[in-house]
């Protein structure tokens, strides 16, 4: 069998047979405990700065963020954004319980359907599962109430995210999913698909020059719900420059 031939060739190269049981158990233990490696210090910050770092990084990657106090503020914020971008007030929405809870009746002009996205949809409203401050990255695991196509087929993706779901490094996001994820198929925690999204789609294939809006969304807008009192900007004090990155801020346009 091909599999045995490949494994046999690997073992010949390693000058050993199949691993003895005790070593297999050791490696199995490494898989089960999945030890963390060095985590960059940049996201180890007090909560308000961690959220500010997230916003800074999203904007650096050409995404936009609007902070809103609660779910009830979403309809007004969304219709304002769509109008400002000259976008229609129709959108496709993830059938997620949290998004359904939004008091949509307050903006009767907003029209939406709850389903997967199709090639003709222009705007989507997606549910943000969590986000990583380290690089301004959204974590969007697939689920019946969080279809993947909403991240891909539209020109403009709007994501509703709770500030309490912003973590520092990716490793913390994995731990959230490990604790909460329940996959019916495998019995594990991984859904079919997890997209980590950092800014809108882009390409630099033409003369290594960056252009936004390749095959995925041209705009990525985040409606950030300030549900975490510990994460609110502190008083009137100006928000400290969101990151302490030695070497200065990234070059414009990078």
């Amino acid at each position: 069998m091909t599999k045995d031939a490949i494994l046999g060739a690997i073992r010949r190269g390693l000058k050993r047979g199949p691993l003895p049981a005790d070593q297999q158990a050791m490696l199995g233990g490494r898989l089960a405990t999945h030890p963390r490696h060095l985590i960059p210090a940049r996201s180890r910050l007090p909560r308000p700065d961690q959220v500010a770092l997230f916003i800074h990084n999203v904007e650096k990657e050409f995404g936009t963020v609007e902070r809103v106090p609660d779910l009830a503020a979403i309809p007004a914020a969304l219709s304002g954004y769509l109008a400002a971008q000259n976008l229609p007030s129709r959108f496709v929405m993830a059938p997620h319980p949290e998004l359904r809870e939004i008091p949509w009746a307050s903006r009767p002009l907003l029209e939406f359907e709850q389903r997967r996205a199709e090639g003709t949809d222009q705007v989507s409203l997606q549910h943000g599962y969590a986000a990583v401050a380290e690089t301004g990255t959204l974590m969007l695991p697939s689920a019946p109430d969080r279809p993947t196509t909403l991240n891909l087929l539209v020109e403009t993706e709007v994501v509703v995210l709770r500030a309490s779901r912003i973590v520092g490094p990716y490793e913390d996001a994995w731990d959230l999913l490990r604790a909460e994820g329940k996959d019916t198929r495998s019995g594990g925690f991984m859904p079919r698909n997890i997209m980590f999204v950092t800014g809108p789609s882009r390409s630099a294939d033409i003369e290594q020059t960056l252009e936004l809006g390749a095959h995925g969304p041209r705009r990525l807008h985040i409606l950030l719900i300030d549900d975490d009192p510990a994460a609110l900007p502190m008083g009137d004090a100006p928000v400290a420059p969101p990151i302490a990155i030695p070497g200065g801020p990234p070059a414009p346009g990078d």
Partner: protein, 473 residues
């Protein structure tokens, strides 16, 4: 893919004489270097992460059999299938079979170097199935019938004029006199064109940057979103991956991802980093019904236990070629197979044989920049040297080179004569070239100087200067 590496010299000569290519190389090179340098400077832990990346890969390779089997078990548990393939032939047959079983007419493809290695497109076409490359760079190359010239920027060798001309020539249903005001207009045309293809495809084929043993996931990293459309919309998703792509856990992959985008494009993180685990779940509204991983050996297992094992740590970031003076002068096509630049000069001989590719490990100035930037610290120059030694041992080195080396050795073993000869050579060269600092051409060495400048020796031989400093102490 057909190997043209034996013609490296002729390929390079043609590349150096190609003004379009030289222009493209000139535009692109600086951008890559500067973006990477900025990203690295903004992450103080980068050096430590390189050691971690190296160690994760070494640990995995030392237990590769275990992790591949663990990966397979998890894919099965998530409702996917794993196909083990020893040779490119095996892999092509498996892919074709899956496409046929799905009744596929068109297949969309994300960018995948292993698919270039296997020649998947050709094979599908020969069997009446239309493959469509969806990465913007790969798309235009497919229109042009060309191979990629760079592992992350496949159309590295093209200028904007080439894009416009090709789109006009091939998108004939659009008005011939349309104007491309900006690069954005070229992008928009490709987007519209490919959108129809994404929606119509029956099967989507992607590569994989990593496979994860802990969860049975395949990971792809893109900026355009084409890979995600490819693996989300069709009924069947095939992930093509070579065996060394597996890593143990999500934490291991995460550490390597911190290195990958910074080393490749100078981004902190790519726009889309996606983990796929099995097929659509019962209640899901989208995603493929079938998920296949085609695991390809293709000569890699033979590298394990040899002095080339470390090459299997490669995460295909392209930093080595972006920083290589030889790649920067001749571009990717000259190397004659899928993988160009320093990593190609080591990997290609391992996968297709040193007999056809002996010139590649010789195409190096040994400046060492590739090793200095490699995120997983692969000792590329050392391995090129290993290939040179093997080539010499197997008498594959050209006769003229062997004679000259023998002559040099004869002189070098006689110190008085060696000193005399080098002093004379340095003096003569210095006399003729002092004014300009470099020789652009050289009698009897026209072939060598056609693509290189020879620096003029300044201030005596090494041995004379060494003796001088010793005296001063």
């Amino acid at each position: 893919m057909h190997v043209t590496s034996p013609a490296f010299k002729e390929n390079s000569a043609r590349a150096l004489a190609n003004p379009g290519l030289q222009k493209a190389l000139g535009t692109a090179k600086g951008a890559f270097l500067q973006r990477r340098a900025t990203a690295v400077a903004n992450l103080p832990e980068f050096e430590q992460l390189r050691n971690i990346g190296r160690d994760i890969k070494n640990h995995t390779l030392a237990n590769l059999d275990f992790y591949l089997e663990a990966f397979e078990a998890k894919v099965l548990a998530a409702g996917g299938k794993v196909h083990w393939c020893s040779t490119p032939d095996d892999a092509r047959a498996v892919v074709l079979e899956i496409c046929k079983a799905a009744g596929a007419r068109t297949v969309t493809k994300g960018k995948s170097m292993i698919s270039e290695e296997l020649g998947i497109n050709h094979h599908l076409e020969a069997h009446g199935i239309q493959p469509v490359e969806t990465d913007l760079g790969e798309y235009i190359l497919q229109l042009r019938g060309e191979a990629p010239s760079h592992i992350i920027a496949p159309a590295f060798h093209l200028n904007r004029e080439d894009w416009e001309a090709d789109f006009r020539r091939l998108h004939t249903d659009l008005p011939a006199d349309r104007i491309f005001h900006e690069r954005r207009d070229i992008l928009a045309e490709a987007r519209t064109r490919l959108r129809e293809r994404f929606l119509a495809a029956d099967v989507g084929i992607t590569g994989a940057n990593f496979l994860i043993a802990e969860t049975g996931s395949s990971v792809i990293v893109t900026n355009e979103g084409n890979g995600d459309l490819t693996q989300t919309l069709p009924r069947v998703h095939i992930a093509l991956a070579s065996i060394e792509k597996v890593v143990p856990t999500l934490e291991d992959a995460t550490s390597l991802l911190r290195l990958l985008a910074r080393s490749a494009t100078g981004q902190d993180f790519s726009v889309y980093t996606t983990f796929s685990t099995g097929a659509r779940r019962d209640a899901d509204l989208d995603g493929p019904q079938d998920y296949h991983v085609v695991l390809v050996d293709g000569g890699r297992s033979n590298m394990i236990g040899t002095e080339f094992q470390e090459m299997l740590r490669c995460i295909r970031c392209a930093a080595c070629m972006n920083h290589c003076p030889v790649y920067g002068a001749v571009g990717g096509h000259a190397y004659g197979w899928v993988y160009p630049g320093p990593m190609g000069s080591v990997l290609t001989p391992s996968l297709v044989g040193i007999d056809k590719t002996g010139l590649l490990p010789n195409a190096s100035t040994f400046c060492g920049r590739c090793e200095a930037v490699c995120p997983v610290k692969i000792p590329l120059p050392k391995m090129m040297r290993h290939w040179r030694e093997r080539e010499f041992e197997r008498h594959l080195t050209p006769a003229a080179a062997r004679t000259n080396l023998a002559l040099w050795a004869w002189v070098a073993k006689r110190p008085a004569l060696y000193r005399l000869a080098t002093r004379a050579a340095s003096g003569v060269l210095g006399l003729f070239g002092r004014r300009k600092g470099v020789f652009r051409s050289m009698p009897l060495a026209g072939g060598w100087t056609a693509g290189r400048d020879l620096p003029v020796p300044e201030g005596g031989t090494f041995m004379a200067r060494y003796a001088e400093t010793q005296r001063r102490r």
